[in-house]
């Protein structure tokens, strides 16, 4: 079943030439791009490696030294592991609490900011750029910087960590929420406006039912991110499991069995919340399974 293509129609021959020239040019461009990319990566690596205190190739053999140590010390004290798990569980709960509260507070903040900065929905259309810049600033400052400043002012503990994560979350979720808002249908809003509803009523009754599933999905994803963030903030004195991990992880104290227990708890918590949130996100996007 070979093609009975008519060879040599003049239009097609011209087009052959034209397209082959185009293809050759494209191949040349992508070849040059590939060479430039490889050269940049290689030279960048050399520069970075020269500025390193050690050296990549000298240090690479030691990559498994820390995990090997942790496993070696833990396997010696394996029967202590359940006790360690029980001992550190309350600080894990504290870390998760920080993440949960800051996700809730940050989510509320993000919701308000997103509604104020979406074209077509905003209460004060002229102020949209202002609210967008506010969200940019909230996203731009890393949690750990805010936490360090607040710990200096308020002293160590979970409250500064909560405020720091909530601030960053507000900016991050506000951006994601406003993208969801942009896809919302404005016809229900016209309907509500035509009956004389206020801005708050229009947002709550007209926008929220459309965007709630996506909001919740993003907020759950953010919750996972915040668990990790609040564990890291423990390193700078914000309490929770990060603080315990910092103490246990210091080299040469013989506490690596405790570090292993903390790693297990953190790993378990992330897996657990990942499963729970993906279950609920599926439920939200695909609807309840037919019973």
């Amino acid at each position: 079943m070979a093609d009975t293509v008519t060879q040599g129609a003049p239009g097609a021959l011209d087009m052959r030439e034209h397209y082959m020239a185009l293809t050759r040019r494209r191949r040349l461009y992508s070849g040059v791009m590939l060479i430039v990319f490889v050269a940049l990566m290689a030279s960048g690596f050399v520069v970075a490696n020269d500025r390193n205190a050690g050296g990549f190739w000298d240090g690479i053999h030691n990559i498994f030294a820390f995990p090997a140590m942790v496993i070696a010390e833990t396997s010696g004290k394996l029967m202590l592991l359940p006790a360690h798990l029980a001992h550190f569980f309350p600080s894990l709960v504290e870390t998760i609490n920080i993440a949960a509260v800051s996700t809730l507070v940050g989510g509320g903040l993000g919701m308000i900011l997103s509604l104020l900065s979406t074209r077509g929905l905003a209460r004060f259309p002229l102020l949209i750029p202002l609210f967008r810049r506010i969200m940019d600033i909230m996203r731009a400052v890393p949690e750990i910087v805010i936490a360090l400043v607040l710990i200096f002012i308020l002293g160590g503990g979970p409250v500064p960590a909560m405020i720091a994560i909530a601030f960053h979350t507000g900016g991050a979720l506000g951006k994601l929420f406003s993208e969801v808002n942009e896809n919302a249908d404005t016809k229900p809003l016209d309907g509500l406006e035509s009956v004389g509803a206020t801005w708050m009523q229009r947002m709550y009754l007209g926008v929220m039912p459309q965007v709630a599933p996506n909001y919740l999905s993003y907020a759950l994803l953010r919750f996972e991110v915040n668990i990790r963030a609040s564990a890291i903030l423990g390193f700078v004195g914000a309490g929770g499991i990060g603080y315990e991990l910092k103490n246990a992880m210091s080299w040469g104290q013989g506490k690596f069995d405790e570090a292993a227990a903390i790693f297990l708890l953190l790993f378990g918590a992330i897996v657990f919340f990942d499963q729970v949130s993906s279950h609920f996100r599926n439920r939200l996007t695909q609807g309840r399974p037919v019973s």
């Binding site: 079943m1 070979a2 093609d3 009975t4 293509v5 008519t6 060879q7 129609a9 239009g11 097609a12 087009m15 052959r16 034209h18 397209y19 082959m20 185009l22 293809t23 494209r26 191949r27 992508s30 037919v290």
Partner: protein, 274 residues
């Protein structure tokens, strides 16, 4: 026996989309499948191409059960069994020739296709196929810049590039205006006549099925309720296939230009009589 479908069923959750369908096509023919939306026409074609897995049954092509194929054997079958979609399913941001060259993907490694390293002979053949379908001058444009009728012809060119044994067309003209619909159906018919390829098309209008097909299969609620020549497809049979009552009139929803002409002529004659 070329293609034989034996007791093929497809169950989605609790719904039976295709219910124990059997038919066989002995020689390369132009076969139309008609039926209302949800009758299982698309699911049937998708099962032949292995885009959707069947729940039970067998589909044999030259004696080999294509439903049991897996891995590269399945992909090789898909390359032999081209599919044309209602919404064209081209890559919108790539140029027309690249889209046509996608028909050869089964023969090339992923690495070569990432770097756009198609053999020159393939590129020439792609342009010749486009020329045969009358759209060679569009070759270097992005697929999304073309009209619906042109895009569907690019999709047919991609199918031809596969050099397939069967061409499956799932509602190829449902998204097109009457004139483009005719161009696309003429192209499919020409491919069937000139290359002797088997074409199986889902169609949603009766006049198209009558005009282009050698054989028509009618489906209703997942079952085959009619299998015969276009001549046997009377209004009574059509009512049965579509589950319509006596108020059903074909010309009311016809999309062919001839039908419009016929309507217009009838109106003119009426006007003259008055």
């Amino acid at each position: 026996m070329l293609l034989s479908v034996e007791n093929v069923s497809k169950v989605f959750g609790g719904n039976v989309a295709v219910d124990s369908v059997s038919f066989s096509i002995e020689k390369p023919a132009f076969v139309g499948i008609i039926g209302r939306s949800g009758a299982g026409k698309s699911t049937l074609l998708r099962m032949v191409n292995r885009l959707t897995d069947a729940s039970s049954g067998a589909i044999r092509f030259e004696g080999r059960d294509v439903l049991s194929l897996g891995g590269s054997a399945k992909r090789a079958w898909q390359s032999d069994c081209a599919m044309i979609f209602q919404q064209f399913n081209l890559v919108p941001r790539m140029d027309v020739v690249s889209n046509v060259l996608h028909g050869t993907l089964n023969r090339h490694s992923a690495f070569a296709t990432f770097f756009n390293l198609y053999p020159t002979a393939d590129i020439h053949r792609a342009i010749d196929i486009l020329d045969r379908l009358g759209i060679a001058e569009q070759a270097a444009k992005r697929a999304e810049a073309l009209s619906g009728g042109q895009q569907q012809r690019v999709a047919i060119a991609r199918a031809l590039m596969q050099d397939p044994r069967i061409i499956l067309a799932d509602e190829p003209i449902a998204s097109l205006d009457p004139m483009n619909a005719q161009v696309v159906m003429d192209a499919l018919r020409r491919i069937h006549e000139e290359d002797g390829r088997m074409v199986v098309a889902n169609l949603h209008t009766l006049d198209t099925a009558r005009r282009y097909c050698d054989r028509v299969i009618g489906m209703r609620a997942g079952r085959i309720v009619f299998d015969g020549t276009p001549g046997q497809l009377t209004t009574g049979v059509a009512r049965d296939i579509y589950g319509a009552d006596a108020s059903f009139s074909e010309s009311a929803t016809s999309t062919s230009i001839e039908a419009l002409d016929a309507n217009a002529r009838a109106m003119m004659e009426e006007a003259e009589l008055l």
